[in-house]
């Protein structure tokens, strides 16, 4: 190629489009008149562009929009992961809370700290009372997550099959949860008018006799297709009428987890560091505090005994190890 040709060739596209200055354009025209190689190149360029325009569009897969709307309806990946972690409770988590929680989860993975704790409201054993309020006061000061505590006892009755409630973040979430549970309770109460359900109103019932009954969440099928989890580190805080009862619950909860993985810096404040092989067990153990049957028997064996209204398990933070 003539050394001049290279410079001309770089201008051929602009020349073709009529975008060159008049002087430049004339120079190219002149060159093309003399140089058959560059004239051929111009032809080849035109040919290429013509061919490019003829390359047809790609066909859209038949189910393209159907798949799209399915994705819109479906949970995001973060939500799926969260569900995997909070499996026993997820059936009760509204999508909005999940979205919040998914954000929290992402924050956890980046910073290792949960900005707003996830709160797991356990089903009440009986009416809440305030024996433990000083401990809660202390915690209130240390955490920004205690809006939950401002309505001391969740108005939930000991309904069979009731799953624990997870409340994430803002108080309005809580309000929605409560409204939902109230409705469910009312529905059940009207269905079985003879069932003696203790008044769930916060603080209204203090140590009244009640059905000493624990409730297991609905069984949840493990999805075997889910990927294995890494180790899980959890910091949890437990609220209950008295610390001993809480301890007892926790120890029962965690009975299968070796003590070395449980570090209680405070009686009601646990740090759990679980190796991968124990995560599954932990999640499994968290599902029921005890089976309904056992607990009903227990209640029958000790009639009139009172217990905390509610055990609240706050997950302060969790991350993967």
């Amino acid at each position: 190629m003539n050394p001049d040709c290279q410079a001309f060739r770089e201008k051929l596209s602009a020349y073709m489009e009529g975008e060159l200055e008049p002087a430049e354009r004339d120079a190219v025209t002149g060159h093309l008149g003399q140089c058959s190689a560059c004239a051929r190149e111009l032809g080849a360029l035109r040919q290429m562009l013509q061919e490019m325009k003829q390359v047809p569009a790609i066909q859209v897969p038949a189910d393209f929009r159907r798949k799209f709307w399915a994705k819109v309806e479906g949970p995001a990946v973060g939500q799926l992961l969260l569900r995997r972690i909070l499996e026993p409770w997820y059936l009760k988590i509204p999508v909005g809370a999940l979205a919040t929680a998914a954000v929290v989860l992402l924050a956890v993975r980046i910073t290792g700290v949960v900005p707003n704790s996830l709160k797991v409201g356990r089903i009440p054993i009986s009416a809440y009372n305030d024996v433990n309020s000083s401990a809660r006061e202390k915690n209130r000061a240390s955490s920004d997550d205690l809006k939950f505590q401002e309505t001391p006892a969740a108005p939930v009755a000991a309904n069979e099959g009731e799953a624990p409630v997870l409340v994430a973040g803002p108080a309005k979430m809580k309000a929605r949860q409560l409204a939902l549970l109230e409705r469910q309770r009312a529905a059940k109460a009207s269905a079985r008018p003879s069932a003696s359900v203790p008044s769930p109103v916060a603080g209204a019932v203090s140590a009244g006799p009640s059905a000493h009954r624990y409730v297991s969440p609905a069984p949840f099928p493990m999805n075997t297709m889910q990927p294995a989890l890494p180790g899980l580190r959890l910091r949890v805080r437990l609220y209950a009428r008295d610390v001993t009862a809480a301890d007892d619950r926790v120890l029962r909860l965690l009975a299968e987890i070796p003590a070395k993985f449980i570090q209680p810096p405070l009686p009601i404040h646990y740090e759990l560091q679980l190796p991968p092989e124990l995560v599954e067990t932990f999640l499994e153990r968290l599902k029921p505090i005890g089976s309904s049957m056992d607990l009903e028997q227990e209640a029958a064996a000790s009639p009139g005994s009172d217990s905390p209204a509610q055990i609240t398990l706050d997950i302060l933070s969790f991350d993967f190890r």
Partner: protein
């Protein structure tokens, strides 16, 4: 001139109204927007990626982002421009991922331009343009060559040449999509065409 050009900006005049309806929560309006644009989005994604399955998936993702970002979309640009921006951004990220994972770096230029080296899955999925078999074969070969050559262009050059010479967009529209001055778009286009010619020349030898 093919359908690509006929479906230019002018036919999307009703988009703004559909966007408003979709913003107000009307799903059927967004479905209509998708119907209008899905083909060009998939097509551009395919031109950028060279893999049909990935292109379809990427187009889904682009629409999902548009859908979820709809409330923040102020219609300062047209919906189509916005959609192209999303699609091209996703394509760029995907291409970087390819580069990191060494995907598709050694596609021989005479190979069919699909993800299946044994067949030509793309050809089956490309709209039937009712050409004779010989013509169809020639076109299929051409598609493969052009697509493979496009794969050798760096992203900014590739997108300009795709939008202008394959999708038939105006310089102004491309400039908006790429957020660059028209002059930059023009000079980049001319260079991209030269690069493409060089690649095709090299492979036809």
């Amino acid at each position: 001139m093919t359908g690509n050009f006929a479906e230019g900006a002018g036919s999307h005049s009703g988009d703004a109204e559909l966007v408003e309806r979709a913003q107000a929560g009307d799903r059927s309006a967004f479905d209509l927007l998708m119907e209008r644009h899905e083909r060009e989005v998939i097509t551009v994604a395919y031109r950028m990626l060279g893999q049909y399955e990935d292109a379809a998936e990427l187009a889904q993702e682009a629409f999902l982002r548009a859908y979820r970002g709809l409330s923040g979309f102020r219609q300062e640009a047209s919906f189509r421009t916005w959609l192209y921006q999303i699609t091209l951004n996703l394509s760029r990220h995907r291409r970087r991922w390819y580069a990191r994972h060494r995907v598709g770096q050694t596609i021989p230029l005479d190979a069919p331009a699909g993800d299946d080296p044994d067949g030509d899955p793309v050809a089956e999925k490309i709209a039937d343009r009712s050409a004779g078999p010989r013509e169809e074969a020639a076109r299929s070969e051409l598609r493969g060559k052009i697509q493979a050559a496009l794969g050798r262009l760096p992203d900014p050059f590739r997108r300009v040449v795709v939008l202008r010479d394959m999708e038939g967009m105006s310089y102004e529209e491309i400039a908006k999509i790429c957020a660059e001055p028209v002059g930059t778009v023009k000079s980049r286009l001319h260079r991209a065409r030269g690069m493409l010619r060089a690649v095709l020349e090299e492979t036809s030898r």
